[in-house]
C-alpha cells in the first residue's frame, strides 16, 4: 500500500505535467538541484517519515498528555511565592507588570492588588520541590517528575492558547501535536488509532474543547485524533448495527474496498487510500476496543491507586486508567482534557474541587506506568494552556479571590520518557510574574516533546499549499536541560 502511495505521489498528474512543460527542461535540472539526494543513495528525511520511523533512537515511545483545560494557577500548584503573601493587597509594581497586555476581564481594574496563595506549600521528596497542599498525591511522586516553572506562551485567551499548545499556531486547522506524532511515527498497534482523545469535566468554571484541537489539519486523515466517549459506545458508529454480524461486515468491507480501490486507481487521491485503511482499522478496533474499555478485571489495588472514581466512565480518574491501558496497548499519543480550571473568581473553593479530581489519578498514572516498567518509555505531561495573574481579579477577598489569565510564566510537569526525574526547571521572579532564568516557550516545549519521541522538529515537515509546515513553525529549541 505504502509503495503504491509513493508511486502515485511520484506520478505527475496532468496539471503538474502542464506546468512542468511550461517551464521547460531547465526545471528538470533545477529539480535535481532542489532535491539533492535525487540521484544519490542516501535516504532523504521524507523517506524516513514515510516508513514511520523516528529520526534517531527515541527516549519515549508514547505520550500521555493530561491537559488541564482552563489554565490552573501556577501560584496554587507548583510556583511557591511567599512574597505575594507578604505583600498581600499591595499594588502590582509597574516595573514587574511591564507592557503585558491584559484580557478585557481585568484590564480596566483600578488596581491590581497582589494575592498570595490561599493554600500552603511544602517541600517534598529528595528533590525538595515545592508543591501546594492541594496535591497530596502528586507531592509523593515529585521525585519522578520534572516541574517546569517557566513555561510561557503568546496567547492570553483560552481558545487561541489551547490551539497554540496543540498545533503550534493560534488559529485552528493546523495538525495537532498528536497528529504530527502519528504522522512521524505511525501507529505502534495496527488495531488501534495512533492518536486518541479522552474528555472529562470538573466542577470548576470550564472552557470548551473542540474537535479542532485534535484535527489532522492538512495531514492525511488517518492521523486525526479519535475521541473515546464515556457512553455505551466509546467510539461512535464502531459497533455493528443490530442484525449485522461480523461476517456480513467483512463481506461489506471487502466490496467497499474493491470499489474504493478502483477509484484510487483512476484518481490517485491519497485520501481514498486512507479511507480504505480506516475501514480496515475500524474492523479490527471492533474487537480491540471493547477489550481495553473493559475495567471489570481491574484489581482492587489498581482501583485504590487511582481512586474509586476510576470505574465511573467519563471521570478524569477513569480516563487516566484508560489512558494507561491505551498506552500500554501501543497508542502513541493519548490526549486527555480535564475542563474546569478557569478560576476568575472563587478560586480557593473551585481549585480544591479540581485538585480532588486530578491529584490522585495523575499521581496514580505515574506510579502505575512505573510499576509496569513503562514509565521510561512513556512521556506524561501535565499542564494547562497558560498561567494565572499574581493579582486579584474582581473584588479583593482572601478566600474568594480570582485570578485572570497570565501568559508570561506558568508551571507544567513532565515525567518519564527520557525526562530528568526529580527536577525543577527554570526560575520565575519573586512576584511569580516574569521568567528570570531558563524560559520555555510553547514551541520549545513542542520541540522537546518531539525530540524525546525521536523526531527532529526541524525535519518533521509537511508541504501544503506551497509552504512547508512544522509543528514548531519557524521556532522552537529543544530544552536539553530537562532531557536525561
Amino acid at each position: 500500500m505504502e509503495k503504491e502511495l509513493l508511486e502515485h505521489g511520484l506520478n505527475m498528474n496532468r496539471r503538474k505535467f502542464m506546468s512542468r512543460m511550461s517551464i521547460g527542461l531547465g526545471s528538470a535540472a533545477l529539480g535535481s538541484l532542489l532535491i539533492p539526494d535525487l540521484f544519490g543513495g542516501s535516504a532523504s528525511p521524507e523517506e524516513a517519515i514515510m516508513r514511520g520511523l523516528p529520526h534517531f533512537a527515541p527516549k519515549a515511545k508514547r505520550v500521555i498528555y493530561l491537559f488541564q483545560n482552563g489554565a490552573p494557577s501556577q501560584l496554587e500548584t507548583f510556583d511557591y511565592k511567599p512574597l505575594l503573601c507578604k505583600m498581600m493587597g499591595e499594588n502590582l509594581p509597574e516595573s514587574i507588570h511591564g507592557t503585558q497586555r491584559l484580557t478585557g476581564m481585568s484590564a480596566f481594574q483600578k488596581s491590581f492588588p497582589l494575592m498570595g496563595s490561599y493554600y500552603n506549600f511544602n517541600q517534598h521528596g529528595k528533590s525538595g520541590a515545592w508543591v501546594s497542599d492541594l496535591f497530596p498525591h502528586m507531592s509523593k511522586i515529585v521525585d519522578d517528575i520534572c516541574i517546569i516553572k517557566t513555561m510561557n506562551t503568546e496567547a492570553i485567551n483560552h481558545d487561541p492558547a489551547l490551539t497554540f499548545f496543540q498545533s503550534g499556531a493560534q488559529q485552528g486547522n493546523r495538525p495537532s501535536m498528536g497528529s504530527w506524532v502519528s504522522y512521524g511515527l505511525g501507529t505502534e498497534n495496527n488495531n488501534l488509532p495512533a492518536f486518541t482523545v479522552l474528555l472529562s469535566r470538573g466542577k470548576g468554571n470550564g472552557q470548551g474543547v473542540y474537535s479542532k484541537l485534535w484535527t489532522n489539519g492538512f495531514l492525511d486523515s488517518v492521523h486525526q485524533g479519535v475521541q473515546f466517549s464515556s457512553g455505551e459506545n466509546p467510539i461512535l458508529y464502531l459497533q455493528d448495527p443490530d442484525g449485522i454480524d461480523r461476517g456480513t461486515r467483512r463481506k461489506m468491507l471487502d466490496q467497499i474496498a474493491s470499489l474504493n480501490q478502483l477509484e484510487l486507481e483512476s484518481y490517485g487521491d491519497p485520501e481514498i487510500a486512507s479511507k480504505i485503511q480506516q475501514y480496515e482499522m475500524a474492523y479490527r478496533m471492533q474487537t480491540a476496543v471493547p477489550e481495553i474499555m473493559d475495567t471489570s478485571k481491574e484489581s482492587e489495588s489498581i482501583i485504590k491507586l487511582y481512586g474509586a472514581d476510576c470505574l465511573v466512565p467519563g471521570t478524569y480518574a477513569a480516563n487516566c486508567l484508560l489512558a494507561r491501558k491505551l498506552s500500554e496497548n501501543g497508542v502513541r499519543f493519548v490526549q486527555l482534557y480535564h475542563q474546569g480550571w478557569d478560576q476568575h473568581g472563587n478560586l480557593p473553593t473551585e481549585m480544591k474541587g479540581q485538585a480532588m479530581d486530578v491529584d490522585q489519578p495523575s499521581a496514580a498514572l505515574i506510579t502505575d506506568l512505573k510499576q509496569r516498567g513503562l514509565l521510561d518509555e512513556t512521556l506524561v505531561i501535565w499542564g494547562g494552556e497558560f498561567g494565572r495573574s499574581n493579582y486579584c481579579q474582581g473584588k479583593f477577598s482572601i478566600d474568594k479571590y480570582g485570578r485572570d489569565h497570565h501568559p508570561r510564566c506558568f508551571s507544567i510537569w513532565m515525567a518519564g520518557g527520557g525526562v530528568k526525574p526529580g527536577m525543577v526547571y527554570g526560575e520565575t521572579d519573586d512576584f511569580g510574574y516574569n521568567v528570570v532564568k531558563d524560559p520555555v516557550h510553547v514551541h520549545d516545549f513542542q520541540a522537546t516533546v518531539l525530540n524525546l519521541m525521536g523526531l527532529d522538529h526541524e525535519k518533521l515537515v509537511y508541504k501544503f499549499q506551497g509552504r512547508r509546515y512544522r509543528l514548531t513553525d519557524l521556532y522552537g529549541k529543544v530544552v536539553n536541560g530537562i532531557i536525561a
Partner: protein, 714 residues
C-alpha cells in the same frame, strides 16, 4: 605589425627582468603606497592571462592549418605580457604580507614559473610551431602549472580546501560528555570554523596561527593573541569586539561571525586561564563556562543516541515481511540496525509467530510480550536472542522455571515481570544475571517484605515494587448509583441501585431518613407504590463509606386533561407550554430552554381542567431554582378552585422563602399547597415572578424569572 611585435618583445623582456629583480630582492624592498594599489589589482588582472594562456596552449590540439597557426603569436604575446604584469602585481602584493605561509610560497614560485613559461612560449613559438609535438609538451606542462597556480591562489583568497570541502565528507562528530575536552571539543572547533580560513595550517595571516597552543601563545605580528586570565589584553577578544566596520575587526566582515555564545565561551575560557588539557567535567558544577559549554555541544551529544552495534541491519524487505497487524517489528530509529518487536493479540500469538523472527534474532533489542500467553518453553527461544536489552513479560504465563534461562542472557538490562506468577525464588535466580539494571516485580507472587529485602541485598539494582498499599490504604468509596432517576410515576415503580465497585454493600432508606449501618441492605430491584424519597450509601471493608445519594419519586395524582394559560408565558420559554405541565415528565433542571415554562413580565395564571369533579386536597408545583440565571422562587403561589371555570374560590396561598444570597443550586423544587379537601373540577394557579432582583445579586434591580415544569393534583 612588425613594430607591434618589436614593442611587445621589448616590453616582455623588460617585464621579465623586473619580475626577476623583485623576486630576488623582495625582502629588501619597501613599497610606496600607490604601488600597493597596483599590487592589490592582482586578483583582478590574473583572469586575463589565464584565459589567454589556455587559449594559446590549447591551439596545439586544434586541427589548425600550419599557416593559420602563424597568426597565434599575437595572442601569445598578449598572454605573456599579461602574465608578466600579473606576476609582478602578485609579487608586490606578497611583499605587503609580512608573514608568508606555505601556500603563498608555492603560489609565488608557480606564478613566477608561469610567467616565464608564457614568455618562453611566445619567444620560441616558431620552434614550437615547426613540430606540434614540442608544442604539445610545452603546452601540457604550462597547463599543469597554470592549474596549480590557480588552485593555490584560490586557497589564499577563499581559504584552505575551499574547492573540495563539499565533497570531502567529515563524518558527523559526536562527543562523549564524560570525555569532553574543554579545548579540543569546544574552543578548537570555534577556531576551526570561524578563523581557520586565515589562521590555520598553511595560512598565517598577520603572522597568527591557531594550530597549537604554542603558536596561539606566540601570537601574531600585532601582539599576543591571548593572555591567559586576562580577557582585556587578549588580542583575539579585542578584534572580535571591534565594530564590524573596523578594518581590524575579526573575522573579516564578509566572513561568518562568531555568535554571542561562542564569544562568551572564548572569553570565559581565557578568563579561566586558557587551559589546553582540561576535561570539561572537571570544572565545578555551577561554573558558567561548564554550563555554557555543555549547552553548546548538546546537539552533538544528542546525536549520539543512535548507538553503535556490532551487528548489521536486517534488510528492510525482511522487516516488512515480518510485520503484520499483530506483530510489529520496527527499527529503533532511522538508520539503526536494532529492532524493537511487540506482539498484540493473544489469539494470534504462538511459538510459531515467535520463531518466524529467527532471521532477525541478532537485531532484536526490545521485545514486548506483555499479556501474551508466553510459556516457559518459549523462553528458551527468547533466551537465545543475543542482543536483547529490554524484555517485557508483564502478565504473561511464565513461571520460576524459565528464570534460569533468563539469568543467562548476557545483554539483558531491563526485565518486566509485573503480574506474573514469579516468586521470590525465581527472582533470586534471575538476579544471578549481573547485567540486569532494572527488574519490575509488582503484582507478582512476591510479598512486599520479600521485595524490600531483595532490594536491600541488591542496592545496585532497581527492583520496582510498585504500589503496595492496597490493604493498608483506606480510600473513600464513591457513591452508589441510583439507576432509576427521580421521577413522577403512576401505579408502582421498580427501583434499581448499583455500584461500580464489586463486592460493595449498599444500604438504603425510603422514609427520608439518613441511610446508615442499620438501614436495609439492597439485594436486588425493589418496588415502591407511594411517593417516597430514597437515600442510599455504600460500604466496603477496607474503604471509607461513601457519601449518600438520594432520589425522589412522586406519585401522580388526578390526571389533568387540559391546561389553559390565562396569561402568556414568555415567548422564549413557551416552546412546550401546551403539554409540559401535565406530561408527568420530570424536567432536567439543566435544560430550561425547552423543558420549562418561563414567566418574567407578568404573573403566571393557568387553569387546569381535571375533566370531572374530584376531591382535591393538595397541589404540587415543580418550580426551578437557579439564581445564577435569574430564576427565583415565585413571590407567592395561589390556588383557586372552581366547578364551572367562572366562579373561583381561593383554596391556598403560599409565600416560598426567598434566598438571601447567591446560592449555586440548580434544581427543581416541588412546592406544595395543601388545603382542606374540596370537590372541584377546575384549578387556577397564580405565581408571581420576583419584580426586582435584590442588591446582592449581579442582576440587581432587574425582574426575575419564575419557571415551572409540572403540576400534580392530589
Amino acid at each position: 605589425m612588425k613594430s607591434v611585435y618589436k614593442i611587445g618583445n621589448t616590453l616582455a623582456l623588460a617585464g621579465l627582468v623586473f619580475l626577476l629583480f623583485i623576486f630576488l630582492f623582495d625582502n629588501k624592498l619597501v613599497i610606496p603606497a600607490w604601488v600597493q594599489v597596483f599590487g592589490r589589482m592582482h586578483p583582478l588582472v590574473l583572469h586575463f592571462p589565464i584565459v589567454l594562456l589556455l587559449l594559446s596552449m590549447v591551439c596545439y590540439w586544434l586541427p589548425l592549418e600550419r599557416s593559420t597557426a602563424i597568426g597565434w603569436p599575437f595572442i601569445r604575446l598578449i598572454a605573456a605580457l599579461t602574465a608578466l604584469i600579473t606576476a609582478i602585481m602578485g609579487m608586490l602584493l606578497s611583499i605587503e604580507q609580512a608573514d608568508k605561509g606555505d601556500v603563498l610560497t608555492w603560489h609565488k614560485w608557480s606564478g613566477i614559473s608561469m610567467a616565464i613559461i608564457a614568455w618562453a612560449m611566445y619567444q620560441f613559438h616558431d620552434l614550437l610551431n615547426k613540430d606540434f609535438r614540442y608544442g604539445k609538451i610545452a603546452a601540457g606542462f604550462g597547463c599543469i602549472i597554470l592549474v596549480l597556480t590557480g588552485h593555490w591562489g584560490a586557497d589564499l583568497t577563499h581559504g584552505d580546501n575551499y574547492l573540495f570541502a563539499p565533497i570531502t565528507h567529515t563524518p558527523a562528530k559526536t562527543i562523549d560528555i564524560n570525555k569532553a575536552e574543554l579545548y579540543a571539543d569546544i574552543i578548537q572547533p570555534i577556531f576551526t570554523e570561524k578563523c581557520a580560513n586565515c589562521h590555520l595550517n598553511h595560512n598565517q595571516k598577520g603572522g597568527l596561527s591557531l594550530n597549537d597552543s604554542l603558536s596561539i601563545f606566540k601570537g601574531g605580528k600585532n601582539g599576543k593573541a591571548l593572555v591567559p586570565g586576562d580577557v582585556l589584553k587578549s588580542l583575539v577578544i579585542e578584534r572580535i569586539h571591534l565594530p564590524l566596520s573596523d578594518k581590524k575587526h575579526m573575522p573579516l566582515s564578509d566572513k561568518p561571525q562568531l555568535t554571542n555564545e561562542e564569544i562568551q565561551l572564548l572569553e570565559l575560557w581565557i578568563k579561566s586561564g586558557a587551559a589546553f588539557n582540561k576535561k570539561l567535567l572537571s570544572l565545578p558544577e555551577k561554573d558558567s563556562l561548564r554550563i555554557l559549554a555543555i549547552n553548546y555541544i548538546q546537539p552533538l551529544i544528542n546525536k549520539q543516541t543512535n548507538e553503535v552495534y556490532d551487528f548489521s541491519a536486517a534488510s528492510s524487505s525482511k522487516i516488512k515481511d515480518l510485520n503484520n497487524n499483530y506483530r510489529i517489528v520496527k527499527p529503533l530509529g532511522a538508520n539503526s540496525p536494532a529492532l524493537s518487536v511487540s506482539f498484540f493479540g493473544k489469539l494470534i500469538y504462538s511459538t510459531e509467530t515467535l520463531k518466524e523472527l529467527n532471521s532477525v534474532k541478532e537485531q532484536i533489542l526490545h521485545l514486548n510480550l506483555s499479556k501474551m500467553p508466553v510459556t516457559d518453553e518459549q523462553v528458551n527461544w527468547i533466551a537465545g536472542l543475543p542482543n536483547l536489552r529490554k524484555l517485557n513479560l508483564n502478565y504473561s504465563d511464565i513461571t520460576d522455571k524459565s528464570m534460569a534461562q533468563i539469568s543467562g542472557m548476557k545483554n539483558l538490562e531491563t526485565l518486566s515481570l509485573a503480574g506474573t506468577k514469579i516468586t521470590k525464588q525465581g527472582i533470586e535466580t534471575v538476579l544471578l544475571n549481573k547485567h540486569l539494571k532494572e527488574v519490575f516485580v509488582w503484582d507478582s507472587k512476591m510479598s512486599a517484605t520479600e521485595m524490600a529485602l531483595l532490594q536491600q541485598k541488591n542496592p545496585q539494582l532497581i527492583i520496582e515494587q510498585g504500589f503496595q498499599g492496597a490493604d493498608t490504604t483506606v480510600v473513600a468509596l464513591n457513591a452508589p448509583i441510583i439507576k432509576t432517576p427521580s421521577a413522577f410515576f403512576t401505579g408502582s415503580k421498580q427501583i434499581i441501585l448499583t455500584h461500580v465497585i464489586k463486592g460493595v454493600e449498599i444500604r438504603y432508606t425510603i422514609n427520608g431518613k439518613t441511610a446508615d449501618s442499620n438501614s436495609v441492605v439492597y439485594t436486588g430491584p425493589f418496588t415502591i407504590s407511594n411517593t417516597c424519597s430514597i437515600k442510599v450509601r455504600a460500604n466496603k471493608k477496607g474503604w471509607d463509606s461513601s457519601s449518600t445519594v438520594s432520589a425522589v419519586y412522586t406519585k401522580a395524582g388526578f390526571p389533568i386533561v387540559n391546561v389553559e394559560y390565562l396569561t402568556p408565558p414568555d415567548s422564549k420559554y413557551a416552546a412546550g407550554a401546551s403539554k409540559l405541565l401535565n406530561d408527568l415528565d420530570l424536567a432536567d433542571p439543566r435544560d430550561f430552554s425547552t423543558n420549562w415554562v418561563g414567566f418574567q413580565k407578568n404573573d403566571a395564571i393557568i387553569v387546569f381542567d381535571l375533566g370531572e369533579t374530584k376531591p382535591v386536597s393538595e397541589v404540587k408545583v415543580n418550580s426551578l431554582y437557579f439564581l445564577r440565571s435569574f430564576v427565583f422562587p415565585p413571590v407567592f403561589l395561589t390556588v383557586w378552585g372552581s366547578n364551572d371555570n367562572k366562579n373561583w374560590k381561593e383554596l391556598k396561598t403560599i409565600v416560598p422563602e426567598q434566598p438571601q444570597k447567591l446560592i449555586l443550586r440548580r434544581e427543581g423544587d416541588l412546592l406544595s399547597l395543601k388545603f382542606n379537601t374540596t370537590q372541584v373540577r377546575y384549578l387556577k394557579l397564580q405565581g408571581k415572578p420576583v419584580k426586582k432582583i435584590p442588591s446582592w445579586h449581579p442582576g440587581k434591580g432587574q425582574p426575575g424569572w419564575f419557571f415551572l415544569n409540572e403540576v400534580i393534583v392530589y
